[in-house]
């Protein structure tokens, strides 16, 4: 069966390894992965900022590309998947042609871990990620926009990764897109609370399903010279050694 990979712009430029790991997992799960090469950005930053003109243009571009394909659209990012599922249809609601495209695309879009657990029934290969101890950070849009709470942890556990609980797992890391640039003090304070807890958890890798949170947390850990690193769940499951 074919699946379409919507890799997201952050993964494309900053975290291509997450894309490669996603391809590896999907192929291992028995899917033929296709990558529509005209995909760019779903428009989430502009949408969240209230810039509808820009967000609509990006959404339409994305819908044109994805609607021309077939099969599930798999996204290794909770927030970009939530954008395609919830907000793209809302952005083009007044445009009859794009509204249908948006509805079709929304119905086909799946966040990666949701797809692996709920649709593919994927049983991950065993990995100890180089003897790492992992903890899981729940990204807000994956959690509250898509209801992804247990799936990533279940996958980690099924893969045999040593996992510890994170206090305040479901509290925002403070990223929030433009928020992190426009209100750096409070965004930074939220991030530092998150990082304090990560360090207190005893984990040496923090795992997430959205690289936007991971680049925030990772950037903060790095600024502190912490030995803790961030990894996307796909990287861990694909056998990346921390």
């Amino acid at each position: 069966m074919r699946v379409q990979l919507f890799v997201t712009c952050l993964v494309n430029s900053l975290y291509p390894n997450v894309g490669k790991a996603t391809v590896a997992l999907l192929e291992r799960a028995g899917y033929q992965v296709e990558f529509p090469v005209d995909q760019t950005c779903c428009g989430q930053p502009a949408y969240n900022g209230g810039f509808d003109t820009e967000a609509q243009a990006q959404t339409k571009q994305t819908l044109d590309v994805l609607d021309a394909t077939e099969g599930p659209i798999v996204v290794p990012s909770g927030s970009c998947a939530a954008m395609l599922i919830h907000h793209s249809p809302e952005l083009v609601a007044d445009d009859p042609r794009y509204r249908l495209k948006a509805e079709r695309v929304a119905a086909r879009t799946r966040e990666l871990t949701q797809f692996l657990v709920e649709d593919a029934g994927y049983e991950p290969a065993t990995t100890d990620c180089g003897g790492c101890t992992a903890t899981y950070h729940a990204s807000c849009h994956a959690l509250r926009g898509l209801g992804i709470r247990e799936q990533p942890k279940a996958l980690l556990d099924a893969a045999g990764v040593d996992r510890v609980e994170l206090e305040g797992e479901d509290e925002c890391c403070g990223f929030g897109g433009l928020f992190s640039i426009e209100a750096p003090e409070v965004s930074g304070a939220m991030m530092n609370t998150k990082i304090d807890r990560i360090e207190a958890s005893g984990a040496d890798v923090v795992v997430g399903v959205d690289v936007s949170c991971l680049m925030n947390i990772g950037g903060g850990l790095r600024r502190r010279n912490s030995s803790v690193v961030t990894k996307h769940l796909a990287e861990i499951l694909a056998g990346d050694v921390v």
Partner: protein
């Protein structure tokens, strides 16, 4: 001062640890209460529907409510704004020779600054909710809509009581409580006017519902000879049956209680044969920006029942505290309500200062989609976003709507990482200063996913 400056000020002073702890405590109590009440989710759906239906036909329900109050022997005054509401109450106090009033905690009277208006007219208005009383003694404003003194600990309260009430210092909560009780008891008995807000106003029978945990609501509305209820225009429910549903979610969401300790339903002045109650019952229905909100894209915010659950859940609130918002309504609800009622131009920073994490929506008893309302307010204030950010978003849209250009630009960007990063990270990026003040920025990887995919297929 801007919101950002107030936040910087709060951090410089050190945000009281009590705020985070207090808000988190309420949040956890709410979680426990919701888990212990199997119908919670169904009740939230019903509560939302009740509020939505009332707000959709608010004019009809307001008329019905006013008629009911009058039928019960009360008076009704529609105040278009804060000035009209205050004027009515001050005039009433003058005409009736009122010099002493006692108040039940009411955010609406904080909103219209009724205490200032009464003080200017020579009326001593004493807050009788313990937290609000402490805030009033300190000359401050509430930092939380249901826990006004969340920003103070008992040691600070002990010092305040010693200074203002001339008592010996103590930080024992029980003793502090007794001191306040003794002080307030005299005020209850001598006040000529009792002033309350209304958690809900019932259209069908003109009743006012008040919930408290201290019993001060009952004293304020029964002992003084005049009771003035200041009611937000949107605080209506149709009937007692709907009121019961709202009670199911209100206290659970606010404090984790199944029901507040005291629930008072006031149906007007004392009637002949009744043993107690005021001689006069005045209802002041306050608009103050609510009609304008009703006609706007964020009208859903009027469903709010002021439980404070969203404040407790909010990571921004927990980190900065209520005062930093600069508005009588802090937290997620305040970020929508404040600009809606008092002007987006002045308050545009509030909706901008959110990570849109959605923790507020998750706990809202009437399921207000606060993140979407924040985005809606951002839509209407894009002009206030820094020019650099606006240009950046426009440029990015230009690039991302041209796939060939996107591939080219992202390929070129890999050189940024190759030339300026260390181990894939950048420490200072002038155009993203806000980011790099707090954390490192990952550099573009040496090869984009697009290029990797192309080579893989080749």
């Amino acid at each position: 001062m801007t919101f950002r400056e107030r936040i910087q000020g709060a951090f410089a002073e050190g945000v009281p640890i009590a705020i985070d702890r207090g808000a988190r405590g309420h949040y956890e109590h709410r979680l426990e209460a919701a888990a212990a009440f199997p119908q919670m989710e169904v009740m939230r759906d019903r509560a939302r529907r009740i509020r939505a239906e009332v707000i959709a036909e608010l004019d009809v329900h307001l008329r019905r409510f006013a008629d009911s109050v009058i039928r019960n022997g009360g008076s009704v005054f529609f105040a278009a704004d804060a000035a009209e509401a205050n004027e009515y109450i001050v005039n009433l106090a003058r005409e009736e020779g009122v010099t002493r009033a006692v108040k039940v905690k009411s955010m609406l009277t904080e909103e219209i600054r009724l205490n200032d208006a009464l003080a200017a007219a020579g009326v001593e208005a004493v807050e009788t909710d313990l937290g609000e009383f402490i805030v009033q003694l300190a000359g401050e404003r509430p930092s939380h809509i249901i826990a006004p003194v969340l920003h103070k600990d008992r040691y600070q309260i002990g010092e305040l009581f010693a200074e203002k009430l001339g008592v010996d210092y103590t930080d024992d909560p029980g003793t502090l409580n007794d001191i306040a009780r003794t002080y307030l008891r005299k005020r209850f008995l001598t006040a000529e006017m009792g002033i309350s807000g209304a958690n809900f106003a019932v259209a069908e029978d003109g009743a006012i519902a008040l919930v408290t945990n201290e019993g001060n609501g009952r004293l304020c509305t029964t002992v003084p000879r005049i009771h003035v209820a200041v009611v937000g225009m949107e605080r209506l429910v149709r009937d007692r049956e709907d009121l019961a549903v709202m009670f199911e979610v209100l206290a659970r969401s606010a404090t984790g209680q199944a029901l507040s300790t005291y629930t008072n339903i006031v149906t007007g002045p004392r009637r002949s044969g009744e043993p107690d109650g005021p001689d006069q019952f005045h209802v002041v229905i306050v608009d103050n920006g609510r009609s304008a909100t009703l006609g706007s894209e964020v009208a859903e915010i009027l469903y709010c029942i002021r439980c404070g659950a969203c404040l407790n859940a909010c990571p921004v609130y927990r980190h900065v505290g209520g005062h930093a918002y600069g508005s009588v309504y802090p937290g997620p609800i305040g970020k929508v309500l404040t600009p809606s009622l008092f002007g987006l131009e002045e308050w545009h920073e509030l909706p901008a200062t959110s990570s849109l994490c959605g923790a507020c929506q998750e706990v809202c008893p009437v399921r207000i989609d606060i993140p979407s309302l924040l985005v809606e307010l951002r839509r209407r204030s894009t002009g206030t976003v820094p020019a650099g950010v606006r240009r950046g978003l426009a440029a990015y849209a230009g690039v991302t709507t041209r796939p060939w250009l996107f591939r080219l630009v992202t390929r070129l960007a890999t050189w940024v990482g190759k030339l300026w990063s260390r181990d894939g990270w950048m420490r200072r990026v002038p155009v993203l200063r806000g980011w790099t003040e707090e954390r490192d920025l990952p550099a573009p990887a040496p090869e984009t996913f697009h290029d990797w995919w192309r080579k893989r297929g080749a």
